[in-house]
Symmetry: C2
Subunit: 457 residues, 2 copies
């Protein structure tokens, strides 16, 4: 098993057929999201960096050929045309961390058709998952309105790999840390976490547990106070902190119950114990909706830990994303069977301050003072620059989100800012469409390419 | 980064503290699901096999120690007590593929406290994700009512690892195949898939595409017919199949639109072309709800391909699963702060034909003709037998699901069969609870273990 065979079988059957037919001409595929899920005012694009790593090392080796042959129940020699195939194409893409909308290409691949086809499944897998989680995490940051948010999602993420990505994607949109040790160390971000209820239960009493914890961990500590009786837990925590001369940097954590009410009582108890600088961390089933309610209620919570619902993007765990052929051998193409019309041709997205994005053809000149969002990030199968750092992605996100209208940023019933299409793109779409419709009205036959679609002007 | 550091930081801080306090006594943790998600009448337990692989190889090495130190901003020597720590405990668990309900332990670990604690995050990660996806996949098999179901979820699963697991979990509950090459080959199951719309678009016409595909793929083929006009696509497919003398084993695939209506028209066209043995495959946004509607409408669909919504368990993408300390150093323990009361003590689940399961204490004698569901699968950190094969899990699932009442199996508004608790377990729960409540009414102090909880009788 390898990244190369982590693919849908049909990519392999198509590639084999293309090779047999000598269909090596350049194909452009466009990766985009058809519609935003309900409850989303924007997407935060993510998945490009792992996708580029995948493309840079893509090479069908002997083991892959044998796996393909086994899957197809065909002799290995039939699959040998694929041996050594690497990705040698161009990738134009929107860098990670940018705020994007439905219909906008996030990535366009141009490569010999068999190459561009074989990589489809893995690219969709990366972009769908990561964009959906980054977009949910971004809303948590908005809901927290400046308070730190940390990631506790590993235990319920869809596998260890998804857990690592949840930490990365949270970081990308501004999370302050993660409970995931491997993720924290590999990303160079703060690791966060203290104790579970089981820790308290293993000791004869909460006080014994808190004292033992403080003794084994020099520096600031966080005590989990809701194992038995939360108010009593706060009193015990306050006494231990006071006895040990701790305070600044320390915290208590609430993990269940009415977090608003418990936080108010805890704050009062801590303040009256002279522990005004001890912070309150809240966790337990939170996502942007829960954080938003607590923040709007002015609950005295200093740090929000979000987990399960964010790591799996519980209310919208997938995107209606597609990787569509938009041009082959110089002719723009599209599919016509349903409401899902894909605009043909290589594209660019232009962004202008205070106005909707424009989806245009790649060769169009930008409107005045517009910024093109797709950049060439890979050429001849090699990255055009060093890998992106999450700090750069975070900065892009910070700028993009600040420029977004409140209506798109709000937590409840947000409204996206739909992009518009350039006149040239509209014209090409109409031409390609009517070309196909004309063909369908005629008796079916093997027709030359010119009958299938209009040529680009 | 390793499986060992793919953990929440608090597992490490707790383990360090336990080691410092010489708290090496045996601890039992119980892994269970508190509540079934809405729309679920049962769970199919999964995740044990990868969890046992993890436990068998668990060992904190030098790199792990360094990562822990980095995450805690502490000198490496502070973490050295963890070096070489391996899992040497016992695991009692329900094997994969069994039908289970809320509150029933799926796994119980008994090991020295630091070991039993350190493995929590990874175990939860495996069980939560895999049980949730297996349970959704099982419902698709029920909805299809005997028709083959295949997995197309890789492109939208939460990463490549989740995609592999989706294929495995579908197989476990009876799927006929998967589009995922790596998964198909590693599991030894059929790989499924033919062509994308892009394949059709890359050729001058549908007919040219179908002919090229058949030429490059000896044996039965499946043609995707909905790229432009679905009825016309079926006609062209029928003509190509007839011309090439193909038929038995071949299929057409519908991937969009009104699948019921399109399938009826396609069936009529194929039948009138003398292609009654050409099958119809349906895909496109299907899960158990969509399959159920089509099957109940008697749509002439022979194979159902389910993808996105099943791979991410879209309507219920996580479980409220917990890994709770239930016994430490011989005394049963629990947590009291919320409605989430955990029953203390080591447990067993007894299953009797036609009656609800009984959750009992591990040492209780089974009721008459009851089957204990938890088996000892690991002792002294080693598996007690060879790894389970998916065929055995599938057979267990087949038997369990057949024994389930229709009300739990149905797709819309299913009703689970809640387990009952044995009198001995009820009594222990009450004793431990009142012991803690008595302690909370007295002035807080460091109390001996006897004050925290009742001793088991």
């Amino acid at each position: 098993m390898s990244d190369v065979t982590t693919t849908d079988l049909y990519e392999v059957t198509m590639a084999l057929s293309y090779l047999r037919e000598d269909m090596h001409s350049p194909a452009t595929f466009s990766l985009f999201v058809r519609d935003l899920p309900p409850g989303r005012g924007f997407l935060v694009t993510a998945g490009l960096e792992p996708a580029l790593d995948f493309l840079a090392r893509y090479r069908v080796d002997r083991d892959d050929v044998e796996e393909f042959a086994a899957a197809l129940h065909r002799p290995v020699r039939d699959l040998m045309p694929l041996l050594g195939l690497a990705f040698e194409g161009e990738v134009r893409a929107v860098p990670e961390g940018r705020v994007m909308f439905a219909g906008e290409p996030l990535l366009e691949v141009t490569a010999p058709l068999p190459q561009a086809q074989l990589i489809e499944t893995y690219l969709l897998n990366q972009f769908c998952h990561q964009t959906v989680v980054a977009s949910k995490a971004a809303r948590c940051v908005l809901a927290a309105a400046g308070r730190p948010v940390v990631d506790f999602s590993l235990r319920r993420a869809h596998g260890p790999w998804a857990g690592l990505q949840a930490a990365r994607l949270g970081t990308l949109v501004g999370f302050a840390g993660t409970s995931n040790v491997a993720a924290a160390v590999s990303l160079g971000i703060p690791a966060s976490g203290t104790m579970a209820h089981s820790y308290i239960e293993a000791f004869p009493s909460e006080e014994a547990a808190f004292r033992a914890f403080a003794l084994s961990h020099p520096g600031p500590v966080t005590f989990l106070v809701d194992t038995y009786d939360t108010q009593e837990g706060v009193r015990i925590a306050a006494r231990v902190l006071t006895d040990l001369g701790l305070g600044p940097g320390c915290a208590i954590r609430l993990d269940s119950g009415d977090l608003d009410a418990l936080a108010r009582r805890a704050r009062a108890l801590l303040d009256s114990a002279g522990l005004a600088d001890v912070r309150i961390v809240a966790s337990g089933g939170l996502d942007e909706y829960g954080v938003d309610r607590l923040v709007r209620a002015s609950a005295p919570i200093d740090v929000y830990a979000v987990g399960t619902k964010v790591g799996v993007a519980a209310d919208a765990p997938y995107l209606d994303a597609a990787y569509k052929l938009v041009e082959y051998a110089g002719r723009p193409v599209t599919k016509l069977s349903s409401a899902k019309i894909t605009a043909p041709g290589r594209k660019q997205v232009f962004r202008r301050a205070g106005l909707p994005d424009v989806i245009a053809l790649a060769q169009e000149d930008p409107p005045d003072s517009a910024q093109p969002l797709l950049r060439t990030v890979m050429r001849d199968g090699r990255r055009t620059g060093p890998p992106d750092h999450w700090q750069d992605a975070r900065e892009r996100f910070r700028e993009d989100i600040a420029a977004l209208p409140d209506s798109a940023r709000r937590i409840e019933d947000p409204e996206p800012v739909p992009p518009v299409r350039s006149p040239a793109l509209e014209q090409l779409t109409a031409r390609v469409r009517s070309g196909i419709e004309a063909r369908l009205r005629r008796p079916a036959a093997v027709l030359p390419p010119s009958a299938l679609s209009a040529r680009p002007s």
